[in-house]
């Protein structure tokens, strides 16, 4: 029999009341009404209250001079910058600590997660102790702890720990030389980029070669050689165009160089360690979630333990790991807002803190802050959904 397109369902008046479609329509209309009423109530209340209390609204304040200093900024910032700039500074600092934290936490988390599955009793027990301690105490407490623990043993600037005249460590932070690029330094940068590209190509080629011929290739050592040799070559060929700005003690503190402030260090430590405990659990359960039959099938094909892990288990575990891993990344980003407790100048601390207080524009400032987190979070889940669709197992 030929296939026909599906017809529209018709609605008879008689059955309207007992029709579930009609019922659900009515219910939904009521819910829309309630939500609209609630929003309207809140907004009108807020407007009334703002009006009654003589609070100005609007985003004009973003162009005003901020007039306060910020300890760490990735863009040029002085007291003359605007409140709008403080927003950018805070945002960038949030992103900085989040990205560094994510990288650190991922590395640590994977190591600990795999260590938990180790045959070695000491290693696996020690990693579960690590996980259980870090997971079960509040992050805020850990931040305070690390801040104290990082600060306490460090000496005053005059008694800094140092490595030659290059690196200085004291209670004001870690001071390192800052590269200053002069004319001709383009070649060095190009050499670095070229080295990275070369390594990517090499890895790709080596894998192809292995698949094609079955012969392995020492990728790691070759890559190491490339990343060292190429930039050095560029550096000397172009006449050593990069100089370093060394930190030096002047008055109370060091000047010059790059400073890594202890707030950043301790926040990073706390965030990375705390999150790594969760990531470790995710990694472990991801690996354990792969059906035992898969290991058995691989073993019965005579694949070795490491091959089984690399070719069969990890690729499948990643599908399980990635979604919760992403939400841990988001958590880390959100948790960076706790920096306000130790004064690391990220978004909540600078913008929702000082700026809000100096301007009094609570609604605008909070709306902007929340919007930032919403955008980060929604765009991440969007990317995640794309990824999930890409790696989803093909089914019938």
């Amino acid at each position: 029999m030929a296939e026909r397109p599906s017809p529209k369902t018709k609605l008879t008046l008689r059955t309207v009341w007992f029709d579930p479609n009609v019922r659900s329509l009515v219910f939904q209309v009521i819910v829309i009404g309630l939500v609209a009423w609630f929003l309207h109530d809140i907004i009108s209340n807020a407007l009334n209250n703002l009006d009654a209390r003589g609070i100005n609204t609007g985003f004009g304040f973003l162009d005003q001079r901020a007039g306060f200093g910020i300890i760490q900024s990735l863009i040029p910032y002085t007291e003359d910058s605007t409140y709008g700039d403080t927003f950018i500074v805070g945002l960038l600092n949030t992103l900085l600590v989040s990205i560094l934290g994510i990288i650190l936490a991922t590395i640590l988390g994977f190591i600990v997660g795999i260590a938990r599955l180790s045959d070695n009793w000491v290693v696996s027990k020690l990693s579960s102790v690590y996980v259980e301690i870090l997971r079960n105490t509040p992050l805020l407490l850990q931040i305070f702890f690390w801040y104290n623990a990082v600060l306490a043993p460090l000496p005053r600037p005059k008694q800094s720990y140092h490595i030659g005249e290059w690196f200085f460590l004291n209670s004001r932070g870690l001071y390192i030389p800052k590269p200053v690029f002069m004319a001709g330094s383009g070649l060095v940068v190009a050499a670095i980029i070229a080295a990275i590209v070369a390594i990517i190509i090499l890895r790709y080629w080596a894998k192809r070669r292995h698949v094609r011929t079955g012969q392995p290739f020492p990728v790691f050592w070759t890559s190491l050689a490339i990343i060292i040799v190429l930039p050095c070559l560029g550096y000397f060929v172009s006449g050593r165009p990069v100089s370093l700005d060394f930190p030096h003690l002047a008055g109370f503190n060091f000047r010059g160089g790059l400073t890594i402030i202890p707030e950043l260090t301790s926040l990073l430590l706390a965030l990375a360690l705390y999150t790594s405990a969760f990531i470790a659990e995710i990694v472990r359960s991801g690996i354990e979630a792969v059906n035992k039959g898969q290991t058995e099938a691989a073993q019965s094909l005579a694949l070795s333990k490491s091959q089984t892990l690399r070719l069969v288990i990890i690729p499948q575990a990643m599908r399980v790991i990635i979604p919760p891993l992403t939400s841990e990344y988001l958590n880390l980003t959100k948790n960076s807002s706790l920096a306000t407790a130790i004064g690391y100048p990220e978004l909540v601390s600078v913008f929702m803190g000082t700026t809000l207080n100096q301007t009094g524009q609570a609604i605008e400032v909070i709306a902007m802050t929340m919007a930032v987190y919403l955008v980060i979070s929604l765009s991440t889940s969007l990317l995640m959904n794309l990824y999930n669709r890409k790696v989803a197992l093909v089914e019938r």
């Binding site: 290693v123 407490l141 959100k334 306000t340």
Partner: protein
């Protein structure tokens, strides 16, 4: 035709001969495992030894001022002891402390009842604990009726506030989260959209911005007559936030229920709500117990954030004690103690959930 005689079972040969065998198997099975073992021991034994030395052997335990701590060089637990009652009750007036005591005890009793598998009437006790007991506890703590002296919430503090926030958070966010989860799975687009937006919004923003909103901005959105207690507002903030998390957890559970269960319920003629209440939710909640407990642990830990909005929970009381000039320099002891209290609760709960999970697993697998 013969009847086959089965051989009797024999006990397994002991593969692991004593302690040596155990070490062979677990510590030194291969050469790289041996290196690992030694390396790990080398790296971690000294710090652990030093910690034990500091925390127990050299520590000072008795005394009433910092003089007791100048000897030894170990931890000064005297400081914690000195502040102990503040850590537990906050500023709750001395003569009325039997009230929080009673709440602690009754709470422990009820939770113990629910946690110990053998005791009967779990459903009723559970319903009482979730729906009635919180009100009794609140009345008992805040007073104002039945001749109880009213105690303002600003005087509550320490562990009391931590527990009040945590327990109220879980008790409210569980049912609220369930409704949201059902909403997000609803076939009605509006309900689904409203629930989804709600959930995604709260999950996207940091809790401290929520607490800030709740603590200083809420009155802006209310008509001026409405007035909430500050602690209550922190509770509302935490609950809103965690309901969204709870909803996602429960949604996961609902998704894990095979569609056959919905169909069987439908085929028996049960309506939507009846099949949810009697068939789907009991199963969904049961399989999500571990995740619910995890959410609860996060909530419990996150109560410490109320410090930032000036509510004196355990951590905040500890911090204020540290800045007492008479006891400066003992912050590590206080942090270790507070961390230990949090850890004890969280670890205990998570262990219990693992135990429960195993029990449910063997009890009826399907």
């Amino acid at each position: 035709m013969s009847e086959y005689q089965f051989k009797p079972d024999r006990p397994a040969p002991s593969i692991q001969v004593g302690f040596i065998g155990w070490m062979r198997k677990n510590l030194f099975s291969t050469w790289y495992n041996s290196i690992f073992t030694l390396l790990v021991l080398y790296l971690f034994v000294p710090p652990i030894y030093h910690f034990i030395q500091w925390a127990f052997i050299d520590a000072s335990w008795i005394g009433d001022s910092r003089k007791a701590c100048t000897v030894g060089g170990g931890a000064c637990w005297v400081f914690v002891e000195n502040r102990f009652s503040q850590l537990i009750y906050g500023f709750y007036p001395q003569p009325e402390r039997w009230r929080p005591d009673l709440v602690y005890a009754s709470c422990a009793f009820l939770i113990g009842w629910l946690a110990i598998p053998k005791l009967p009437k779990k459903v009723w006790v559970g319903a009482f604990t979730i729906f009635i007991y919180p009100f009794i506890a609140v009345i008992l703590l805040s007073g104002g009726i039945f001749g109880l002296k009213p105690i303002e919430t600003s005087l509550w503090g320490g562990l009391l506030v931590t527990l009040v926030l945590a327990v109220s958070g879980i008790v409210v966010s569980l049912p609220f989260g369930t409704v949201l989860a059902l909403g997000r799975r609803s076939k009605m687009p509006v309900i689904r959209a409203v629930s989804t937006i709600y959930i995604e919004f709260w999950r996207a923003v940091p809790l401290i911005t929520v607490l800030f909103m709740a603590s200083v901005m809420l009155p802006l959105f209310m008509s001026s007559e409405v007035n909430f207690d500050k602690l209550l507002r922190a509770m509302i903030g935490i609950t809103m936030f965690y309901s969204a998390y709870m909803a996602e957890v429960i949604r996961g559970g609902l998704q894990a229920i095979p569609s056959g269960q919905y169909e069987a319920a439908e085929a028996l003629g049960l309506s939507y709500w009846k099949s949810m209440i009697f068939v789907i939710l009991p199963q969904a909640l049961k399989i999500t117990i571990p995740s619910i407990v995890n959410t609860f642990i996060s909530l419990f830990k996150d109560t410490s954030l109320v410090l930032i909005i000036g509510i004196f929970d355990l951590l905040a009381i500890g911090q204020s004690a540290m800045s007492d000039p008479k006891w400066l320099g003992f912050s590590i002891e206080m942090y270790v103690f507070i961390a230990f209290v949090f850890w004890l609760f969280c670890f205990g709960i998570s262990r219990y959930s693992i135990y429960l999970e195993n029990k449910l697993h063997t009890g009826h697998k399907n």
